[in-house]
């Protein structure tokens, strides 16, 4: 038995709505997806053939990267050395416009991952995929799955219909807090609006870079709307957000708050201090400075060894070789981010599955 090392972000892939998910849909939606040919909901954010979406040695001969359990087991566990891994499914249920359809597909994804992944490998855990388009239905799905301790977080996309701090989402956070489920915000967009304030970019590369700013906007929204005051037990995990932007972002937030806090009197302390208590980040990608001193500086600036969560982002191609830990991280951070921090952030990991 190897040491505990929890990979907080791996991506099993749904083959398709009419194939993979069909057995998990009720009769109405079975008929609908077949007769209307509702399929192909891979997110524009992650075209399966794009290099980032699957490392060459993690691509199966047939199907999408992450679609084959045995291959994922070999890669995420045998090769990368994790003891457990959290599955975050990025199929497009989160981006459907029809709230009932979105809800049906989210439900199907959660039932599929439970039956075909979690039940077959006890090292796996999963995030509950929810339709944030319809907060009431998102809560229903959380409640439906909350009794199953193998679900350890609630998955939402970094770019949705509105900023995540807005009050129409608060009931979702109430449910999440009640069940000790952190909110996992993962890179990805519903494509409701441009990926940045300057408009629609030409390239996937640009879009991917802009995700970092979208995460920053979500953190500010959660803080300034007062979500953490309202739900003090809530933790939010930024997944695949990059890390090195954090220090300058924290300082700018503190400075801005000092200048304009009069409009948000319920935010009673510096935003960076709220971030250290409530925000966590997965460590792939890290977007590192090129040298060890730069990495040491970034860690020193963030000044909180609790914020980092080990993740490989398997099968996304963030690094080569067998070591998913970004280069130059100090040993003190590495030991915390692999076990202590995930266990603290996802309390349900410690519960019997």
């Amino acid at each position: 038995m190897s040491a505990t090392r929890i990979d907080c972000d791996i991506h099993p892939a749904v083959g398709g709505t009419r194939t993979t998910l069909l057995p998990y849909l009720d009769d109405h939606w079975k008929e609908q997806v077949v007769s209307r040919a509702i399929d192909g909901l891979d997110l524009t954010s992650y075209p399966p053939n794009m290099p980032l979406s699957g490392r060459a040695d993690w691509r199966p001969a047939n199907g999408k990267p992450g679609s084959d359990l045995a291959m994922v087991q070999r890669g995420a566990f045998d090769q990368l050395g994790s003891s457990h891994a959290i599955c975050n499914v990025l199929y497009g249920a989160q981006a459907v416009y029809d709230p009932y359809m979105a809800s049906a597909f989210c439900k199907a994804i959660n039932d599929w991952i439970a039956a075909e992944w979690l039940a077959r490998d006890l090292r796996l855990r999963a995030s509950i995929v929810v339709p944030m388009q319809a907060p009431d239905l998102a809560i229903e799905e959380i409640e439906r799955r909350a009794g199953d301790n193998r679900f350890v977080s609630v998955l939402v996309l970094a770019q949705g219909e509105s900023l995540l701090g807005r009050r129409h989402y608060w009931p979702v956070y109430r449910a999440a807090e009640k069940h000790k489920l952190p909110i996992a915000i993962h890179a990805g967009s519903q494509y409701r609006g441009a990926p940045s304030s300057i408009g629609w970019p030409s390239y996937r590369y640009e879009y991917y870079l802009a995700e970092a700013q979208a995460f920053q906007a979500q953190v500010l929204s959660l803080i300034y709307e007062g979500v953490f005051g309202k739900f003090p037990g809530l933790k939010v995990v930024l997944m695949e957000s990059g890390v090195s932007w954090l220090p300058a972002f924290m300082w700018r937030a503190n400075k801005t708050w000092r200048g304009v806090r009069v409009e948000v009197p319920w935010v009673e302390r510096e935003p960076a201090s709220i971030m250290r208590d409530h925000i966590r980040l997965t460590t792939q990608p890290f977007d590192s400075p090129p040298d060890a001193k730069g990495v040491a500086d970034i860690i020193d600036m963030i000044d909180c060894d609790k914020m980092f969560l080990f993740a490989s982002d398997y099968p996304h191609w963030q690094f080569d070789g067998d070591d998913a830990i970004p280069p130059h991280l100090p040993a003190s951070i590495v030991s915390r981010m692999c076990a202590d921090n995930p266990l603290e952030t996802f309390p349900r990991l410690s519960l019997a599955a």
Binding site: R166, S197, Q213, M301
Partner: protein, 370 residues
């Protein structure tokens, strides 16, 4: 916080200041009233300005939907005793800012009537010309320290280029301004004729935060609070940086110089690391890029320093400065706005005389050929 600068160093800096004159790359002059533009507008546009006014993609005609923490976003002590809005009275600007800080040159950034985002393009072109003329008549002619920028509404590219030609002939403008929140990201091909002209004329392209491009201020939607919207300025600038680099603008225009104004500089090193880290993965999507993204940034971009980041530890600000590079930074105060950076106190980390000279003066002098 043992290494935050204390009194003795400030005194040392005060003596240095007597030898170092400042070039302030972001000063906001204001119209006293919109009627100031009438001498530069035809009757038709005077009437239009009066009866229709702005047409911007924002809910209110008289104010921002994100109310600032002070009237007109200004320092409370910046209202001229003679009346009129902050930044509208040259004598008071001299007395409050230019003279006491020994400003050798100030680069004007006009935000009134935000010409870059006017939906009525003909109106936009008319007031763009009027404001460009007003900058000379009201400011540069009266105080040669104040240097004008050619406002060029990027979304009527043809009119923008005609205006650039007209202004450049005078030899009195130091840069060409476009706006980061345009109809499309600024790196896209439709704007390249402007960059071609800027390169030929040897004028830097100035990009001040702001604009009404119609998209939400963040990639996640419309925020509720000014605190969020204010910080989103840096996000717009980061996306603009990547657009210029990744579209290959700098491959096509290797002598183009770009100045980012009021975006601050804390975010830039991480933006470069992130671009570089993912470059290999996306390289086949952008084969027009011949070099690592950060190399384009380090050669083609300059950044004004306000709003300066304020880490608790002085050594952290020092790291930020080194990561971006002392050669890329241009001091700016943002006078008369509320988040003004005071040149005496903004840099709360030790700088050598040579570094100070570059940031406060010689970088801008060389860039703008002052």
């Amino acid at each position: 916080m043992s290494d935050v600068i204390d009194r003795p160093l400030l005194e040392q800096e005060a003596t240095a200041k007597s030898r170092l004159r400042i070039i302030d790359c972001d000063i906001h002059p204001s119209l006293h009233s919109r009627a100031d533009l009438n001498p530069f507008l035809t009757k038709r546009w005077q009437e239009h300005l009066k009866s229709y006014g702005d047409h911007l993609r924002t809910p209110y005609i008289g104010t921002t939907p994100y109310p600032r923490s002070s009237p007109l976003i200004a320092r409370r002590d910046a209202w001229p005793p003679t009346g009129g809005p902050p930044g509208s009275d040259l004598a008071f600007m001299r007395k409050q800012h230019l003279d006491p800080f020994d400003v050798e040159f100030g680069i004007l950034q006009v935000l009134d009537l935000f010409i870059f985002s006017q939906q009525n393009l003909d109106f936009g072109a008319a007031i763009q010309r009027a404001i460009n003329e007003w900058q000379l008549a009201y400011w540069s002619d009266r105080d040669p320290r104040l240097k004008a920028s050619i406002l060029a509404g990027q979304d009527d590219t043809e009119a923008a280029i005609a205006e650039i030609e007209r202004c450049a002939k005078t030899g009195r403008y130091v840069q060409i301004n476009v706006c980061p929140r345009a109809n499309e990201p600024l790196g896209r091909h439709r704007y390249w004729p402007i960059y071609a002209r800027a390169e030929e004329l040897g004028l830097p392209l100035g990009i001040h935060v702001g604009g009404y491009g119609g998209h939400a201020p963040t990639g996640g939607g419309w925020p509720s609070y000014y605190a969020e919207e204010h910080q989103s300025n840096a996000h717009s600038m980061a996306a603009t940086l990547t657009s210029f680099v990744i579209e290959g603008v700098l491959e096509r225009f290797p002598r183009l110089k770009i100045v980012f104004i009021e975006g601050g500089f804390g975010w830039i090193s991480s933006a470069m690391w992130r671009m570089d880290q993912h470059f290999e993965r996306f390289r086949d999507e952008v084969p027009h890029l011949k070099r690592r993204p950060s190399e384009y940034v380090r050669e083609h971009f300059w950044f004004t320093t306000q709003p300066i980041d304020e880490p608790d530890e002085a050594r952290h600000l020092r790291s930020l400065i080194e990561w971006v590079g002392v050669d890329r930074l241009l001091f700016s105060s943002d006078y008369p706005h509320w988040d003004f950076d005071d040149p005496r106190f903004a840099f709360r980390t030790p700088l050598s005389e040579a570094e100070r000279l570059k940031i406060f003066n010689s970088n801008a002098r060389a860039l703008y050929k002052l």
